[in-house]
């Protein structure tokens, strides 16, 4: 009995949290979507609560958000909900928004992290294109902070879904994401040199890409005979098949922990 009690004690918070998020989503869909849009991503009458594009995300702490839900914002269309919903309902909506705002680092997946790391550097061959902490290749995105930048689903989708896009996953983004789409490219210079790589940026006059040799190339288009974007990505999207179930699960456990939380700011500047 004692062992069972401990088990329940450990299991309950996570389960309860998940239930609260599910309830919160139902309540959000019922009361909030009309103004704030589906999944809090901005509606017709009110700003996004979770979005790369607005200052709402990240600018308000959880405590501030909860206070706004409870008390409303005087002088705006945002009503006070504390006399319409119970405290536990408001807490559930808060839990749902928190889950939407969170990245993989907030919700890392279970698994054998050390084994996942071995898969990353070994069988998964991830370092052929990616780097963590200066080790690996710079052809693809650096993954050292991936769990702080992306949600669990975005990381999992990148490994399994061909239609996955590198950007546009609802995770935490840079203020203005550079258009680095990592499309495979084949470039031929006017003097006949052919280079394969992945795109970093381009405009009507110039092209920047990382060669498969890991070097950055920048050309004036006048120097080039052709620039051919190849269809599809170079990132394999069948890791759930080329890895065993355990290997895949552990790789996700490893990746969803790659990142850091900055500490509070200290001191001033001159």
């Amino acid at each position: 009995m004692r062992a069972l009690a401990i088990l329940i004690f450990i299991a309950t918070p996570a389960l309860a949290q998940q239930q609260q998020v599910t309830q919160g989503k139902a309540l959000y869909d019922q009361h909030c979507t009309a103004c704030h849009g589906a999944n809090a991503g901005a509606g017709e009458r009110a700003p996004a609560i979770v979005s790369a594009a607005t200052s709402m995300r990240g600018a308000r702490s959880d405590a501030q958000l909860m206070a706004i839900i409870r008390n409303g914002i005087p002088g705006t269309a945002m009503p006070a909900w504390n006399n319409r919903l119970s405290d536990s309902d408001i807490a559930s909506i808060g839990a749902f928004i928190r889950a939407l705002r969170g990245t993989a680092l907030d919700n890392p997946l279970p698994g054998d992290v050390a084994h996942g790391e071995a898969v990353f550097w070994g069988k998964g061959q991830c370092a052929t294109c990616h780097a963590i902490s200066g080790r690996g290749s710079v052809i693809g995105p650096d993954l050292g902070n991936i769990a702080a930048d992306r949600k669990v689903t975005a990381i999992s989708d990148a490994l399994t879904k061909p239609e996955h896009r590198v950007y546009g996953d609802g995770g935490v983004h840079l203020p203005a994401p550079p258009p680095m789409d990592y499309e495979p490219v084949h470039v031929v210079t006017k003097n006949g040199l052919a280079i394969d790589g992945v795109m970093r940026n381009q405009d009507a006059w110039s092209v920047q890409f990382t060669g498969m040799d890991g070097k950055l190339y920048s050309f004036d288009r006048a120097q080039l005979r052709s620039v051919t974007i190849k269809p599809g990505g170079i990132m394999p999207t069948d890791y759930d098949k080329r890895l065993s179930a355990d290997e895949f699960k552990d790789l996700l456990a490893f990746l969803t922990r790659q990142g850091m939380r900055p500490g509070p700011s200290s001191g001033g500047g001159e």
Binding site: G58, D142, G211, K215, P262, S265, S266, G267
Partner: protein, 526 residues
């Protein structure tokens, strides 16, 4: 052909008259077409060997691209360039930009976004280095922006905005003045802390006597990069004011090593020599201004190893940088009321109480904002002159009561005759003679930094936003472009595909200038 090869091919077409001899007047670390540390070269001359853009063709300069740093404000940052990529550093953020097109290659942003003043970075060993607002030092992979290492600052204090400076395989960083300023060195490979030099003495140090035992408010902020002298194996750096800044009666003595130029052994972090510009300061005249310029030249018939420094207090100092001894100096402004000159040892000779701040307000010339400040000076070996931004005019320094340590403030003098006016000044450092003087219109404040080129140009932007090119010999205006925002940063030049560019931060943007694509360069060569 990779980027590097293209750049090298371009370089071969240039007149190759520079960069061959490793002397203090051209000591690295940047290749002639690159700019890899804050001042460009260890000697802080901010003099480029590039000769493609000249007084004859500078009128053809045009904007090549502009890069906007979203969320920033009044950038005081000097970009660095290596192998065709420009790195724009701020606290918590680096933008890597294709130096040809202005296109983003990668961007690193660690939350939160910060607009605190940050002045640059170094590129070294395939890494770019920045400080964070949560007191870490971070190395990014220069190719991808990935974090290579991330360490907490030794001592736990946030690094100042001067940006990491690379000298002899060491990253040099600093912290501000409260409780005390210090310089630190880290290993750029690993982030390991190597040494710390404290500007403010501990009670057991002999220098403690120079504070009448009161160092409790500290001082000696390390907020500007200095220089590196490979021959002496020393970094040469400026320190900030003693605290409280305007009430010197509570800290009798010279207050070492505030307002000082210090030479620190780069391997051990030990002090080799010091020279204090403003002993017992009461006006916040940091010795950190943008000129710790190292020059080797003949003086009084002998080859000398010199340090040239135009100070915020209005005096120019020429030191023997092998021992810190004062050789000569002069006031470089017309409007000075706190000191009559310098003693044979280089100590200011005070007029009365040296314009002590008072309750009714004390006219102080130059003002606390400084006769010059962080924007860089430049030395041209071609003319042998030092060029710097000088501000004439006065401030009024107040204190709230006569109680020791009372609160203080300063304003620009409201008298028309003492209002701040910016000048670009050319001076022969060996004699103090003013060679020419250019009065800026409207600009009245810190102003941008300067740089010179071997072709005889002086890039001398104005505070109110004009990017301007002058003839270094005559001060004649050759070209200008209104960037539309304040300029309080220092400029650079670089070469890519055989074409020379100038770049500078203005407001929230980086502007890059070059000749029209079809324009013939100097002598008809590219």
């Amino acid at each position: 052909m990779g980027l590097k090869h293209i750049a090298l091919a371009g370089l071969m077409l240039l007149p190759v008259s520079v960069g061959a001899q490793p002397s203090i007047n051209n000591p690295g670390p940047s290749a002639p077409g690159d700019w890899t540390i804050y001042p460009g070269s260890y000697n802080s001359q901010r003099h480029s060997p590039l000769k493609q853009i000249t007084p004859a063709n500078a009128h053809l300069l045009q904007v090549k691209w502009v890069h906007h740093i979203s969320g920033s404000r009044e950038l005081e940052m000097t970009p660095v360039v290596k192998d065709g990529v420009m790195y724009i550093a701020q606290y918590n953020r680096v933008d890597a930009i294709d130096a040809r097109s202005g296109n983003v290659i990668w961007r690193y942003q660690r939350p939160p976004a910060s607009t605190a003043a940050y002045r640059g970075t170094s590129v070294y060993d395939n890494k770019v280095f920045i400080a964070t607002t949560d007191a870490h030092l971070v190395a990014l992979d220069a190719r991808s922006g990935g974090v290579v290492w991330d360490v907490a600052v030794d001592g736990g204090r946030r690094l100042s905005g001067m940006g990491p400076f690379l000298a002899k395989d060491k990253l040099i960083v600093g912290v501000l003045d409260q409780p005390d300023g210090y310089i630190q060195a880290y290993d750029p490979k690993t982030g390991k802390h190597l040494w710390t030099w404290h500007a403010i003495p501990r009670p057991e140090d002999p220098e403690y006597k120079s504070w009448s035992g009161n160092t409790k408010e500290g001082g000696g902020a390390i907020w500007m990069s200095g220089s590196f002298d490979p021959e002496q194996n020393a970094i040469i750096w400026g320190t900030g004011q003693p605290n409280p800044p305007y009430s010197n009666e509570v800290r009798e003595g010279d207050n070492l090593y505030s307002d000082s130029i210090v030479a620190i052994d780069v391997d051990t972090g030990k002090l080799k020599w010091h020279f204090q510009t403003t002993p017992h300061d009461q006006h916040d005249w940091d010795a950190t201004s943008g000129s710790q310029v190292l020059v080797d030249t003949n003086y009084q018939g002998k080859p000398r190893k010199l340090l040239l420094h135009a100070d915020r207090n209005g005096f120019f100092y020429m030191l023997d940088r092998s021992n810190g001894k004062f050789l000569r100096g002069n006031s470089f402004i017309d409007d000075m009321n706190w000191a009559s000159g310098l003693s044979p040892e280089g100590r200011p000779i005070l007029l009365g109480d040296g314009a002590k701040p008072s309750v009714k307000g004390t006219l102080t010339c130059p003002s606390t904002a400084g006769a010059t400040n962080w924007p860089s000076a430049t030395y041209s070996p071609v003319t042998g002159w030092l060029y710097f931004h000088a501000v004439e005019g006065c401030g009024v320094n107040f204190r709230s009561s006569i109680t020791p340590g009372a609160g203080t403030s300063y304003i620009e003098s409201p008298d028309e005759q003492h209002r701040w006016v910016s000048h670009i000044r050319a001076m022969d450092p060996l004699t103090g003679k003013r060679m020419w003087d250019l009065t800026e219109v409207r600009s009245n404040h810190y102003g941008p930094g300067l740089m010179s080129t071997a072709s005889g140009l002086l890039f001398a932007p104005e505070h109110f936003g004009q990017a301007a090119m002058l003839d270094a010999r005559t001060g004649k205006r050759l070209w200008h472009f209104n960037t539309g925002d304040y300029i309080t940063a220092s400029p650079i030049t670089y070469i890519l595909d055989g074409r020379q560019y100038f770049a500078i931060a203005s407001g929230t943007n980086i502007f890059t200038f070059g000749l029209p694509d079809a324009a013939p360069a100097a002598g008809g060569k590219p």
